[in-house]
Point group: C2
Chain length 492, copies 2
């Protein structure tokens, strides 16, 4: 017998290795972000004894770093959508989320969420979250005010607009300024505090415990360097976030995300995913991530065009900012600019935060091209082609919608510098454990692993394709499917 424990995140502790049970619970939830909080609340309300484990010293996780937006709609629309004049059909929400999920969208999860979205929004409000009855029609990233409803995806942009009737679906809680995620988590944490959920902070899940049949039976916990053994009679729910902070895993699964220099994460070291994999869970779409550069508002910047290091356009600029950034990361070369003329020039609202600066100016596009040291004609031919069609209200190459189209002909001209490693590219991972809508973790044969559940970014949920991400999808997924996992774990 070696001095080192045989178990690790990647290797479950066998039941025979458990020296003693230090404690017993019904449902053990790993991670006190939005998914974990919702899982714990539903499990305890379903009558289970619940222990919620958190590696840091407080609640919130990466959810608390977010804007607090949830992607909500369908069912005829939320009060905010209806007040703004939108009726949101469940099938439109379904089709949009199916497209947003990419080539392997999880139709079962999308269906469950599309049908349950409005009721889930009401549940969130029943927890104490307040949403103002207001709508910001301009394209923004998230409100600087306490307003609620925004366009938070690519709903009005090609190709999404062709497949689902556009509707704004980003719902931000009533919280003045950025950072509504902290408020959202404070509300959920208050409900947890009032409940019978036992919360243990500063406590890591060091390993799962599995019995002879492979069933998950508990957790090895580590606190202050000491291991303790927690029996979980009903199940373990992994809500420990993604893996954007784990450089080794990033290199092995999503090396392109290493190009994004602003990871959004608290712990997010992949431990939730690894614990699940060690017990036979199948991690899927591990190469996918969210990435963005908040280059608008003001929305007039959408009338500009993005070019890469070869002076080529590569995306319709009216899609979601994260979809633009995703396409930036897919290009070879590190240099990117947003081209503007005098009429639409503005400093981006997030300019200093996003480190977007002026890269070049000129009285002609030739001058801008030379200043950027681009090959002769590379930028100019791109602008000329764009202008020729924009003058007719068309963008046959990338299908930017007509409302954003005008020729860039009013000098002087500007190129905003959006270079990777100059500007700030924010990112988190989307790959994770394959799960059923109930939260049950699946093996590679899509058979559930008894006693094991996952939600939030430890699972591969609604958002699983970087090019389809829309703001609010991750919190919507984490809270909704966190609830399902908590319910199912309580009554397996």
């Amino acid at each position: 017998m070696s001095a080192q424990p045989a178990y690790s995140r990647s290797r479950p502790c066998r039941l025979a290795e458990v020296p003693r049970w230090d404690a017993e619970t019904g449902v053990a939830v790993v991670g006190f972000g939005a998914a974990g909080a919702c899982a714990a609340l539903e499990a305890v309300r379903a009558g289970a004894k619940v222990t919620l484990l958190e590696a840091t010293s407080g609640s919130g996780g990466t959810s608390a770093l977010s804007g607090g937006e949830m992607y909500v709609g369908g069912n005829g629309g939320t009060p905010q959508q209806r007040a703004a004049g939108f009726t949101d059909d469940t099938e439109d929400l379904y089709r949009y989320l199916l497209m947003a999920g990419g080539p392997d969208a999880d139709a079962a999860k999308v269906r469950a969420y599309a049908e349950g979205s409005l009721a889930h929004f009401e549940w969130m409000q029943a927890q104490g979250l307040v949403y103002k009855d207001s709508f910001i029609p301009q394209r923004i990233v998230e409100p600087f005010t306490d307003d609620c409803l925004i366009w938070s995806g690519s709903e009005e942009a090609w190709p999404f607009s062709e497949n689902a009737k556009p509707c704004p679906r980003g719902h931000t809680p009533q919280w003045m300024g950025l950072g509504g995620g902290r408020y959202l988590m404070d509300v959920l944490a208050a409900r947890v505090a009032e409940s019978a959920v036992e919360v243990r902070y500063d406590t890591r899940a060091a390993a799962l415990i599995v019995d002879e049949s492979g069933r998950v039976a508990g957790l090895v916990l580590r606190r202050d360097g000491q291991d303790s053994f927690l029996r979980a009679t009903r199940g373990v729910v992994l809500c420990a976030g993604g893996y954007i902070m784990n450089k080794d895993l990033l290199r092995q699964h999503a090396p392109q995300l290493q190009r994004a220099n602003m990871p959004i994460g608290t712990v997010d070291d992949g431990s939730g995913i690894q614990l699940g994999q060690g017990a036979g869970g199948h991690a899927i779409h591990m190469d996918q991530g969210f990435v963005t550069l908040p280059w608008y508002p003001p929305e007039q910047l959408i009338k500009g065009i993005f070019i890469n290091a070869r002076g080529q356009r590569f995306i319709n600029e009216d899609c979601y900012h994260g979809r633009v950034a995703q396409h930036i990361l897919q290009q070879s070369g590190d240099r990117f600019w947003l081209l503007l003329d005098r009429e639409i020039f503005a400093e981006p609202d997030f300019g200093q935060f996003a480190k977007i600066t002026i890269g070049a100016t000129g009285d002609s596009w030739q001058e801008v091209e030379r200043e950027l040291e681009l090959p002769e004609g590379a930028l100019v031919s791109t602008v000329e082609l764009y202008n020729r069609h924009a003058a007719q209200g068309q963008d046959p190459l990338f299908r930017k919608a007509a409302k954003w189209l005008r020729p860039l002909t009013q000098g002087p001209f500007v190129a905003l510098d959006c270079r990777i490693d100059h500007a700030a590219y924010f990112s988190f991972t989307l790959g994770g454990l394959d799960t059923l809508p109930t939260g049950e973790v699946l093996d590679a044969a899509r058979q559930p692993i008894a006693g094991l559940y996952a939600a939030g970014r430890s699972a591969c949920g609604l958002p699983r394709w970087g090019a389809g991400y829309s703001s609010g999808m991750s919190l919507a997924d984490a809270t909704f499917f966190g609830r399902q996992a908590g319910k199912r774990a309580a009554n397996p």
Copy 2:
């Protein structure tokens, strides 16, 4: 106790579940392709009892579908390289393979292979493989003749040419015509037949058997619907290929490869990878694959330019055909053409096989553009920009080498149709189990799993980045690291 066995590819059979041992061996090798054959030969020569298991009724695996090329060099050069006037420095081979491995190249494997490549080539010849002392200087895919040495990668193309002195390294055995992979496998299979290796055909590996500590102790075998239990006292080596034939796994890990309509595989259902994952092995780079369209020879076609559905160029056309195809798959849209003028027009040698046909012709590029129904100016502006710089022997956008540059000005003009779903895109997967150069399978913490080894496309080897693949890398990797795995398994 249910009637269904609790074990599967994804769930190892616990030692306690083993009802009896039907047989015992030292090293069990799963899969009789190039990796498995080499592993078995080295293991038996190291004194182990060896059982080689093959799901089909014969030897060869996907290796036998290949051209038989191996990517070999360094150490001053092979006899073929030296006869052709090339001295190949080990460090150039090392640097090339490191680039070819992409952002997470496995430096330890690249180092081992670069230093051992020439000796390994000699070992292959000692098995009976014959290589003619000849060199084809033109850029081809593989010889139609029995010649040996070819340029089989992107050695002379940017950016590879800037980092490693170019040298041809594709070595094809002396076999008249295409399909040298069958010959290569026949030679290896003859050596296996002469050896003490026990071969069992029509036998699948249904599950690994693991003991209480997680050590791999054998295999559950399935033949004619019956399970039998094979004890492996020294180890199990997984050489069961990749997963290009498994549509579910493709969708979950590499959905872009679904766009390639000609998977190259025999079994390649992911069973090797899944068996390893079930025992705690960590599969990495599961999104990566090789893809190609054999659009040259004749090499004069390289003087043409590829455009996408928006009329844009996207790659230096002088790089390896698979790197071109990889960039095709990364573009949005399904339409692609190779633009040629009268002076360089030719039917591709693989035209019918690759389903490359003439998409449009015209006396002017405007006419071609209209015939392809491209937006006005989209193709023409691309050709004009290319021609402007090509006339000066430069390609500042994509850095195609000067020898391939000339303006496309001699009408009539032709667009060869390389549309996805029209032309034939061949593919196989590159993601697999993370292993040490010894073949030991690693868990996510990079700790070896006792008794478990992998090689070939069940492992993630030298080739692990689609955009860096070069012909011969996979067979070189499978044979070289198959040998290491066999040696180590025999003497763990």
